[in-house]
């Protein structure tokens, strides 16, 4: 089974001359990652809007309770790591971040029960992405199992850290770069963030594919035992990774805005 990633071509023919050089913006996007990304965003926004549909400062409903628990959890994390006043505007970003990574990590673990349906859609390669390949179900894919997504999140964290540093320390923020080790630090931090998340989720999903395709025919039922164990572990890993990414973002911002840096 040749498992080629489907890419959509974008910005074809967008070309211009810049300082005498011919520049073409034509490129590709990872179709499956993008679709899963949108699915995650929709699921996550639905969850968030359902949770805050009937907001009350009195007795909250079950859904609102969950949302409040998440908010309190992140608030406490931030307050533990830094001066909360400095991070007041950060809360919404961190909440969106942890929710996105969590839902993204989880969605790859949901069995692709609609594969027979998707297999019939011969449009933009959907039958290849979500249908059957060589008689096997193609599982769903976490957006975070794509390096582009994790690097994007890490870049956002980097931008956040630098802008928070500049906001609170003005020009003093750049003084630390007189020591070249700090330059490496600022390259290494987002890289480790991106590759840690990618590695964990990608490995988890790869093993799911392996278990699904390991045994042929009726003996595939034997795969239930390792599958249950591995999916259980992947849920744990997915939760932990979303937590780790958020905590490290908070820690890096705290480092950048702390006075004694």
């Amino acid at each position: 089974m040749e498992h080629e990633i489907i890419k959509w071509k974008v910005l074809e023919g967008v070309e211009f001359d810049l300082f005498g050089n011919h520049v073409s913006l034509a490129g590709t996007v990872h179709a499956k990652t993008l679709i899963m990304l949108w699915v995650v965003m929709i699921v996550m926004m639905t969850f968030a809007f359902l949770g805050t549909r009937k907001l009350t400062s009195g007795k909250p409903g079950k859904f609102q309770n969950v949302m409040e628990w998440v908010v309190d959890f992140i608030k406490k994390l931030v307050a533990d790591n830094m001066d909360y006043k400095k991070a007041a505007g950060l809360l919404s970003y961190l909440l969106t971040l942890i929710m996105f990574i969590f839902f993204a990590n989880m969605i790859g673990l949901i069995p692709n029960i609609l594969a027979p349906l998707f297999n019939k859609i011969h449009f933009a390669g959907i039958n290849e992405m979500f249908g059957y390949v060589d008689g096997h179900h193609v599982p769903l894919q976490s957006p975070t199992a794509d390096i582009n997504v994790t690097i994007a999140l890490a870049l956002l964290t980097l931008i956040l850290v630098v802008s928070m540093g500049i906001k609170h320390k003005k020009g003093g923020f750049f003084k630390q770069f007189l020591n070249p080790l700090h330059i490496i630090d600022y390259i290494a931090k987002p890289m480790t963030l991106a590759f840690r998340l990618f590695g964990n989720i990608f490995a988890g999903e790869t093993l799911i594919i392996v278990i699904l395709t390991m045994l042929p025919g009726a003996t595939v039922l034997v795969g239930i035992v390792p599958m249950v164990a591995w999916v259980g572990f992947s849920i744990f890993v997915g939760g932990i990774q979303s937590f780790v990414f958020t905590v490290l973002t908070i820690a890096y911002v705290a480092q950048a805005v702390s006075a004694d840096h």
């Binding site: 080629e4 996007v29 990872h30 805050t52 919404s92 969106t96 794509d146 999140l153 956002l156 490995a203």
Partner: protein, 187 residues
Amino acid sequence: MLYTMSALLLTADVAEDVAAAGSAGTLDIDYTLIVMIATFLLVYWILARFVWKPLTNMMEKRRTNIEDMLSQAENDRQEAERIRLEYQEELRRAHQEAQVLIEKATKAAEVRTDEIMEQARLDAEKTKQTAFAQIETERVRALAEIQAQVADISVAVAEKILRKNLDASAQKDMIDQFIYEVGDRPC
């Protein structure tokens, strides 16, 4: 390492699939990254505006509500304590006043008792005096009456004697004796 492991564990066929999945583009960096950043920022903006902000505002409102209620409860408690002390003080004062009143009443009653007793004694004395005086008057009156009657009787006796025996000298002693005896009789 994963690839090595899977290669050891699985058939060569599956191991190839796994290797292919890794090499066939998941690690390529392309416009997905830009789209991801844009999508994430958009979702962040929407959620921040329509979900997180109302939610945190509401939680803040609840916090202030609870704070208000707690301070209100504390105020009420203090007010109740104040009223309790006030009532206690009032009760104490009422007890004291009642005690004073009782003492005063007792004293007044004693005085009144003495007065009544004295009055009764005086009344009794007066009654006794009046009775004595009345008795004396009665005695005098009775004596006078008796004397008058004796005179009448004497006259009657004298009359009888005179009618029977005109011998005055013979009867004189007897009459004198009679008068003497009458005078000695107690009234």
